[in-house]
């Protein structure tokens, strides 16, 4: 018997799990949009916090912690890699001289900050994906995909199953890495990530083949019952519209973020703080009175 992966979906009577796919997707999609598009560290940190808060509100603590750990690793990697490969910036912290292939390496405060910004973005994205994976029923996603991407079982599999597949594979590969003899070449995180991605894609292809065999490419179902409405739908539609409008608005109206090259330029104003506050507090939308994260653990 296996222990459940932290990113596995578990049916629960929590708000996000009970809500319809549309409102849930809009709500979490707003967090994804702000994480992808914002270049403001305060907004990104607030969105990450808000997404984690949303996960805690619907009992996905394990998924949030797992995603934060993975995101933190990615963030540190981004800082180091960007620090080494980008020599732009006015504030040189370290001169490492001339290196083969890489050329001259000067580690600047600006390149480290730019790496941190990308890392923060990656961390927020990981948390949103983790909450989605643990709280949104992949069966519902697949059924929705059947209406919109009927000719591509692989696309449907990648969207609805890749994260759960990768989570299962990650646990297996992690075990295998831990069982390697001390004399075997150790498996670094990069090699493991590479193997995980390749393996998960292979497995996604297998699942897509199964989906084809189940008749996925047949005409969309005619007798499908309308999804049962949830009392949480309105709440997530409302929050989703506000958050998405704020996210898109901040991009359209050019809310300034952190500029790193050639030197730092950052002047957060009330709009930035308001946006950050909105996304941080938006995480509370999943919370129910008397049903906090301690009511039932994931």
């Amino acid at each position: 018997m296996k222990s459940l992966s932290p990113l596995s979906y578990v049916p629960r009577r929590a708000s996000l799990q009970s809500a319809g796919l549309g409102p849930a997707a809009l709500y979490l999609g707003a967090y994804l949009v702000i994480c992808f598009l914002s270049s403001d560290p305060i907004v990104l940190a607030a969105a990450t916090f808000g997404a984690a808060l949303a996960g805690y509100g619907c009992h996905a603590q394990r998924a949030v912690r797992f995603s934060l750990r993975l995101g933190a690793f990615l963030a540190v990697s981004m800082i180091v890699i960007n620090g080494l490969v980008t020599s732009r910036g006015e504030t040189v912290l370290l001169r490492l001289g001339q290196w083969p292939v890489l050329g001259r390496i000067d580690v600047t405060a600006e390149s480290l900050a730019a790496g941190a910004l990308i890392g923060l973005r990656a961390m927020g994205t990981m948390v949103v994906i983790g909450v989605w994976s643990a709280c949104i029923d992949p069966d519902r996603v697949l059924r929705a995909m059947h209406h919109t991407a009927r000719r591509s079982a692989l696309t449907a599999t990648l969207i609805s199953r890749l994260v759960p597949l990768a989570a299962g594979d990650q646990a297996r590969l992690g075990d295998a890495a831990g069982l390697r003899g001390p004399g075997a070449t150790p498996v670094g995180r990069i090699a493991l990530a590479h193997r995980l991605l390749a393996g998960s894609l292979d497995r996604a292809v297998d699942v897509a083949a199964t989906l084809e065999l189940r008749g996925y490419a047949q005409a969309a179902s005619t007798g499908a019952a309308r999804p049962v409405p949830s009392r949480f739908d309105l709440r997530f539609w409302g929050a989703g519209v506000i958050l998405m409008a704020a996210a898109v608005g901040s991009i359209v109206f050019g809310l300034p973020g952190l500029t790193t090259y050639p030197g730092f330029e950052y002047a957060p104003g009330p709009a930035t703080l308001g946006l950050a506050g909105l996304f941080a507090l938006g995480g509370l939308v999943t919370w129910q009175r008397g049903r906090g994260p301690h009511a039932r653990r994931n």
């Binding site: 018997m1 296996k2 222990s3 459940l4 596995s8 979906y9 578990v10 049916p11 029923d137 992949p138 069966d139 697949l142 059924r143 059947h146 079982a153 599999t157 199953r161 299962g168 297996r172 590969l173 075990d175 295998a176 890495a177 831990g178 069982l179 390697r180 003899g181 001390p182 004399g183 075997a184 070449t185 498996v187 090699a191 493991l192 590479h194 193997r195 393996g199 497995r203 297998d206 699942v207 897509a208 083949a209 199964t210 989906l211 084809e212 065999l213 189940r214 008749g215 996925y216 490419a217 047949q218 005409a219 969309a220 179902s221 005619t222 007798g223 499908a224 019952a225």
Partner: protein, 549 residues
């Protein structure tokens, strides 16, 4: 058994004409000039060594080849009159069901009921019709109690049964199965085969079943098609197939048939009941025995390779914590060859994973003082680099490769190795650095290493385990394969629901039961007689005694 003439009447459900196929990028073809028909209600077993083309043929019969896998195909395959060149797998979904070897890649949904609902929903069935179809297939396969369950909480046997139900829920006239019992314990494996037979008889479903463990399914079959190097080597009834396989070097014969052949008893038996009937006619009294099998005195062990005392293990599969191991006491010494057996979910893998430190016991102790090398179920998980030299370098790597009998160039790509070689390489990776010079760790454990292996590969693994134990390591193999256990183990530990329910020499455990017993033992039911050679000797003795009288 059905009347073959009645069964072969009517248009073929599956028709294969001069089929040749080569995967994209492959140098050699996987199928060469294959032709046969399967008619409604036939139960056909597809036999053949690993790599003989069984899986490719099944993929061609459901349209995955060429629509999903690409490649070059010539000839014609039609299912219920639909040519697979014109109809893809999705369009064939209502006429053919497919059950693959690994249940985990063929379960898509979160719950069992959603999984059964999926193909019906894709077909556009109305909700009431879907509910009825799900209820009926669940009752037919005895899985109604599983419907609300989350698939991640199912055992391997339950998952395979669900996969079969999904393949049958649309009531297709043809069902294809690719080694569906390879991950099942003997109980679940036998149940699955007889379930297929019942559905075949009651619903008239034509069955094409690819299987390595022929002793499990031959008795249920009407016909056997044997593949060799992509071609059909034999096509006929099971008894004629056995005659065909009992040739020097043949690797497809069942243990009972091999035993009869060695003892000169005719005709070769298609199953246990058949074998007993033949022996009865010959005046040889064989099973069922009445006297309980007595184990010899238990040898005193120091438990240097593994010592578990009062071991409890708790896991949460998603629906609350469950006790996996319950107060287990076990000692294993260096040099022993131990088979760890039990039903799916009995705790075999969990015990090995706890010994290797991957799981934390809830109570009790487990220690492996002389080190442990554990190879888990998927050797591919250990192979992460582009060459053997990158995986294993230096003196310790070389010693590990030597220990598993691999002598390949450093620049060989692990992906180019055969299944058996990949398994050995993965084992070498677990051993590297755990050896002192050429001295092995005290415990080498393998979890379900025979999945999907043909007899030749199993013999290689059995030989390897013998070599490793002779060099001083205890070799513990968790497996469901009783015939393999009879060839390699000198001790069998049987777990049931996390508790130790039998621990004795292999001959005692494998001859004292029904499910956890070899085919030879099930036929003869003589204490200590479990292998083909032992059975043949016993039969020859009985025959000599009979002619003496």
């Amino acid at each position: 058994m059905h009347d073959a003439t009645e069964r072969r009447a009517g248009d073929p459900t599956l028709s294969v004409e001069a089929l040749s196929y080569r995967y994209a990028g492959a140098v050699a073809g996987s199928l060469e000039g294959v032709s046969f028909d399967i008619r409604q209600g036939e139960f056909v077993v597809l036999a053949g060594a690993s790599g003989s083309g069984k899986t490719s043929l099944l993929r061609a019969a459901c349209g995955l080849v060429p629509h999903f896998h690409g490649g070059a195909l010539s000839g014609r395959v039609s299912v219920a009159g639909r040519d697979t060149k014109d109809f893809g797998p999705g369009e064939l979904a209502d006429v053919v069901g497919f059950v693959a070897q690994d249940p985990e890649t063929q379960i898509i949904s979160t719950t069992v009921s959603a999984e059964l609902d999926l193909p019906l929903r894709f077909r556009g069935d109305e909700p009431a019709s879907r509910a009825r179809a799900i209820e009926e297939v669940a009752l037919a396969l005895n899985i109604a109690h599983l419907l609300p369950r989350t698939v991640s909480t199912l055992s391997g046997g339950e998952m395979q049964r669900v996969a079969l139900a999904v393949a049958l829920v649309t009531r297709p006239p043809l069902i294809l199965l690719d080694e569906p019992t390879s991950q099942l314990d003997p109980v679940a494996g036998d149940e699955l085969i007889w379930l297929l037979r019942r559905l075949n008889e009651e619903w008239g479903v034509a069955v094409l079943l690819a299987e390595h463990r022929l002793e499990r399914c031959l008795a249920a079959a009407d016909r056997v098609i044997a593949m060799s190097s992509g071609r059909i080597a034999f096509d006929g009834p099971p008894r004629a197939f056995l005659e065909h396989t009992i040739e020097p070097g043949a690797k497809l014969g069942t243990p009972a048939a091999l035993m009869f052949s060695l003892a000169g008893v005719d005709p070769l038996p298609v199953g246990v009941r058949d074998a007993r009937a033949t022996l009865r006619v010959r005046g040889i009294k064989a099973g069922p025995g009445t006297a309980p099998v007595k184990a010899g005195p238990r040898p005193k062990r120091n438990g240097r390779a593994l010592r578990a005392s009062g071991l409890w293990l708790e896991l949460d599969p998603g629906e609350g914590p469950v006790d996996i191991l319950r107060g287990l006491d076990l000692k294993i010494d260096p040099g022993e060859r131990v088979a760890l057996m039990g039903r799916n979910g009995a705790g075999k893998s969990s015990l090995l994973r706890t010994a290797a430190g991957l799981l934390e016991p809830a109570a009790g102790q487990i220690e492996t003082r002389g080190g442990i090398a554990l190879l888990t179920q998927n050797p591919g998980d250990f192979l992460v680099r582009e060459s053997i030299g990158e995986e294993l370098s230096g003196k310790s790597g070389r010693a590990a490769l030597e220990a598993v009998g691999l002598d390949l160039p450093d620049d060989s790509d692990p992906r180019d190795l055969s299944g058996g070689e990949r398994q050995r390489l993965a084992l070498a990776i677990t051993l590297a650095g755990r050896m002192e010079g050429s001295e092995l760790p005290d415990l080498i454990a393998l979890d379900e290493p025979t999945r999907g292996m043909d007899r030749r590969l199993k013999e290689g693994l059995s030989e390897l385990s013998r070599t490793l134990s002779e060099r001083g390591a205890a070799v513990v193999i968790a497996t469901h394969d009783v015939e393999f256990v009879a060839t390699f183990a000198d001790r069998v530990v049987l777990l049931g629901d996390g508790e130790l329910i039998a621990d004795a020499d292999a001959a005692t455990v494998l001859s004292g039961g029904w499910y956890f017993a070899t085919e030879v033992s099930r036929v003869l039911d003589r204490p200590g007689v479990i292998t083909v050679e032992q059975g043949a000797d016993w039969l020859l003795g009985e025959i000599a005694q009979g002619s003496g009288e």
